[in-house]
């Protein structure tokens, strides 16, 4: 795995982007906008399931509008995150906080997919089931936790 990381770090276009202040700032910008879309949209759907937001809307139409933004955000986050990771892969890969963050992202995605698939069923029920509220709550906590974990990464790796 470390050899793969070394190879990633030496890809010419990755080196060019990593060493250019303008290009790497653009990559960060895409990463930020991507997770604003991803976390913002997912959080509103989770809050709606919890009964705390958008109560004038049925679940399915709200999610129908917001989930495509979440998936678009995810695409932006993955593309930019890959470039950010590849540029310093050998530093990131062995760091515990980075691994925790990626683990949280995968868990959050899993919960996100469950919520998305179950929504039509919950929407037909007379009231949102308690299990649904728990799922939405865990999803919300995981996404907000992912932001914190992501921000802690540079704090644990001096010089990034």
């Amino acid at each position: 795995m470390l050899r793969l990381c070394e190879w990633l770090e030496q890809i010419p276009w990755i080196v060019t982007i990593t060493n250019s202040a303008v290009l790497i700032s653009l990559v960060w910008l895409v990463h930020y906008i991507g997770f604003f879309l991803l976390v913002g949209s997912t959080a509103v759907v989770d809050l709606r399931v919890l009964g705390a937001a958008a109560r004038n809307q049925k679940l399915a139409p709200l999610a129908g509008l917001l989930f495509p933004f979440a998936w678009t955000g995810l695409g932006l986050v993955i593309a930019s995150g890959f470039v950010m990771f590849a540029g310093q892969a050998t530093t990131f890969y062995p760091t515990a906080v980075f691994q925790i963050k990626m683990g949280m992202v995968l868990l959050a995605l899993l919960f996100g997919v469950i919520v998305q698939r179950k929504l039509p069923v919950w929407d037909r029920a007379p009231s949102v089931p308690a299990a649904a509220k728990w799922l939405a709550f865990v999803s919300l906590v995981l996404w907000i936790g992912t932001i914190l974990a992501g921000l802690e990464v540079p704090a644990f790796i001096p010089g990034i």
């Binding site: 910008l29 906008i33 604003f36 879309l37 913002g40 709200l62 509008l65 907000i144």
Partner: protein, 161 residues
């Protein structure tokens, strides 16, 4: 004016709590976290309305309904973002007020984007009565997306000075 501003920033930066936030090893990311969590809510809900005005997700709800549904969490998001942002500013206030990217962000782009947001949000009640939005609504939504992306661009440029 500038000396006076520097003096205020200097005092802000030396508040005991602020000094602690800077020196405690893993505390700083918590302030960034507040800012970014607020921004996710603020921009997630703001951009959703802008894209709806542009014509996304027509079959789900009108822009007026969406604006109404997102209103409280939209502004709560801004409140959290401002709280985090102000604390971030306080940790290095003297440096920030002379940073050109920060000045552009806070002095020009953010007020402009915020004013435009209020305008768009208010107008969306009229523009968004029917599933199809008028051309002026599309233009206004697009303008707002451009404005917030400019704010974010200025923000990521701050550390380069």
């Amino acid at each position: 004016m500038h000396t006076w501003l520097v003096a205020i920033c200097d005092r802000l930066q030396n508040i005991r709590l602020v000094v602690w936030l800077v020196t405690a090893q893993y505390a700083y990311p918590f302030i960034q976290w507040t800012h970014f969590t607020g921004l996710s809510l603020w921009l997630g809900t703001t951009l959703a309305l802008d894209f709806r005005l542009l014509g996304a997700g027509k079959r789900f709800q009108t822009a007026a309904e969406l604006s109404d549904a997102l209103f409280s969490w939209n502004w709560l998001g801004l409140g959290i973002a401002v709280l985090g942002g102000f604390t971030l500013f306080a940790t290095a206030a003297v440096g920030y007020i002379d940073n050109p990217a920060f000045r552009l962000k806070l002095g020009v782009l953010s007020p402009l984007a915020l004013a435009w947001h209020i305008f768009v949000q208010r107008k969306s009640r009229i523009w968004g009565r029917t599933p199809e939005t008028p051309a002026v609504a599309k233009l206004a939504g697009l303008m707002e997306i451009v404005l917030w992306v400019s704010v974010a661009t200025a923000a990521v440029w701050i550390p380069n000075y």
